[in-house]
């Protein structure tokens, strides 16, 4: 009986001691993007002189990016089979789906969304001019900086307007010249944006 009690005590001690060291609770990483201050003196609120918080790269962002990669791969397969509708459907799952928390969204999210909307606009322009314009407008609202993403959106806008021009011209519509004008304007803007990006790259970091 004594030996059994001794054995039970040893087992209990062996289990409880290590587990006692692991009882600390930790924040749930799924609660949203981890926001952190770049200041190392953020111990109390009174003496905190922290710059505006910046979002860090967190698992939610990676999850969104991985989702975008998968859906674009699906769109590639559909495009290879000349199935425009399936490709648009795959891209809509990304642009219409949930975004990582943050207002405004993280730069990566905005740029990937802009790139996706540009692709979907090009696909929709083959059959639906207005829907394509919507995607371009939404993309341009996300990619506000003069970057290759915005330049591509402007180029896609020109492609959309160019196809509309061809349709209207074939239809003998009087709005054809306007469409052509808008297309040319979009292309000019795209070139200007690319030039700005190249100039910025050649001039080096400010």
């Amino acid at each position: 009986m004594r030996a059994l009690q001794k054995c039970f005590g040893v087992v209990l001690l062996s289990v409880m001691l290590p587990l006692a060291a692991c009882t600390e609770s930790a924040p749930d990483p799924a609660e949203g993007p981890a926001v952190v201050s770049t200041s190392i003196s953020a111990t109390t609120a009174d003496d905190c002189r922290c710059p505006p918080a910046q979002a860090v790269v967190d698992p939610a962002l990676l999850a969104f990016l991985s989702k975008a990669k998968s859906l674009h791969n699906q769109a590639d397969m559909a495009d290879a089979e000349q199935d425009t509708e399936a490709a648009i459907k795959a891209l809509d799952r990304l642009v219409a789906g949930p975004l990582p928390a943050g207002d405004p969204p993280a730069p990566e999210v905005r740029e990937v969304m802009a790139d996706t909307l540009a692709r979907s606009a090009e696909l929709r322009s083959r059959s639906d001019y207005q829907a394509a314009l919507k995607d371009v407008d939404r993309g341009l609202s996300l990619a506000r900086e003069r970057s290759h993403y915005r330049g591509r959106l402007m180029e896609v806008l020109g492609v959309v307007e160019q196809r509309e021009f061809k349709r209207l011209q074939e239809a003998g519509d009087d709005d054809a010249p306007a469409a052509k004008e808008r297309a040319l304007k979009a292309f000019e803007e795209a070139v200007a944006i690319q030039d700005d990006v190249i100039k910025r790259a050649l001039s080096g970091p400010e």
Binding site: E24, P27, S37, I40, K69, R152
Partner: protein
């Protein structure tokens, strides 16, 4: 030798008349008596008195060969005493000689007389070693006490030794309880000092001690418990991040400050090469995911305080 044609054993039982055949008639009697004498020497029969006397005369001389009537009478008397027919002063001595010779029967054994015993001791040990015929009262009391102790009445210092001597000379059968006790002690000693936890079974064999088995079981339980605790602790450590502790705020802040922030992906692409209007989206996305995956890993290590 002439071949008579007869088997040899037939000639052995009677005289080899063939040997004497042909001998002169007057020599046959002499030859026959010689043969008889030879047979008697080879297989002597009981000697009669006359022949005995004759032989003694030949051996000892004629002067001692003859016995007078007195000697003969004394010899007869001694002979009768040895057979128990009459008394004789040398009867006991003669009987002792006969006993020493070994030619006696159980019924003829006569216990050695005390006097004869003392005489023999005197011859063997000399007068100095000869035990005193009388003992003191103390010696008699000690002897009586030893006798009583050997009989189980009381105790004596020499009783155990005397009993061991007696058992060594004529050991008695061991009782069952004593047998079990001795076997148990021997096996316990042979176990090397280990405490005999078992008890004897009906056949007398000792049950094997379980202390070694208990130690192995205890060690196995402790090892399993430690492995379970280690695994549980590892799972929790991998799933959670440690809380900021009051003892290392600087280290925690430094780790947070080193985290990679979310930023534009334009730096991942060649600024001299604009994006095409159509195609290339999947490749760009792959590059962005790879870069940000590395950033996430860096941020995790920074959050854990690993530099």
């Amino acid at each position: 030798m002439r071949d008579t044609g007869k088997p040899a054993d037939e000639g052995a039982s009677r005289g080899r008349l063939d040997l004497v055949a042909g001998a002169p008639h007057e020599s046959l009697a002499a030859i026959a008596s010689g043969s008889a004498a030879l047979r008697a020497a080879l297989a002597p029969s009981e000697l009669d008195a006359a022949d005995n006397e004759a032989l003694l005369a030949l051996a000892l001389g004629a002067d001692v060969a003859e016995h007078d009537a007195a000697e003969q009478a004394a010899a007869a008397a001694l002979r009768h005493a040895l057979t128990g027919q009459q008394q004789h002063p040398l009867a006991d001595w003669a009987q002792s000689l006969r006993c020493a010779w070994g030619d006696v029967t159980a019924s003829a054994v006569v216990p050695l007389a005390e006097a004869d015993h003392m005489a023999l001791l005197a011859l063997a040990l000399g007068e100095a070693g000869l035990p005193q015929p009388s003992f003191s009262d103390e010696e008699k009391q000690q002897a009586e006490q030893l006798r009583a102790a050997l009989a189980g009445e009381g105790s004596d210092g020499l009783a155990d030794w005397a009993a061991e001597l007696r058992h060594a000379d004529a050991p008695s059968s061991l009782d069952e309880l004593s047998h079990r006790r001795l076997v148990k002690q021997a096996l316990a000693a042979a176990a090397g000092g280990m405490e005999a936890a078992g008890e004897m079974d009906a056949a007398g064999a000792t049950v094997t001690s379980t202390s070694g088995g208990r130690s192995m079981l205890l060690a196995a339980i402790v090892a399993i418990a430690a492995a379970v605790a280690l695994f549980a602790g590892s799972v929790r450590w991998l799933e959670t991040r440690p809380q900021p502790s009051a003892s290392a705020p600087a280290a925690r802040a430094a780790g947070v400050a080193a985290m990679v922030v979310s930023r534009s992906t334009v730096d991942l692409f060649d600024p001299m090469t604009p994006f095409p209007a159509k195609g290339g989206e999947s490749e760009r996305i792959k590059r962005i995911v790879a870069a940000r995956s590395a950033d996430l890993r860096s941020n995790r290590f920074a959050a854990w305080g690993v530099r």
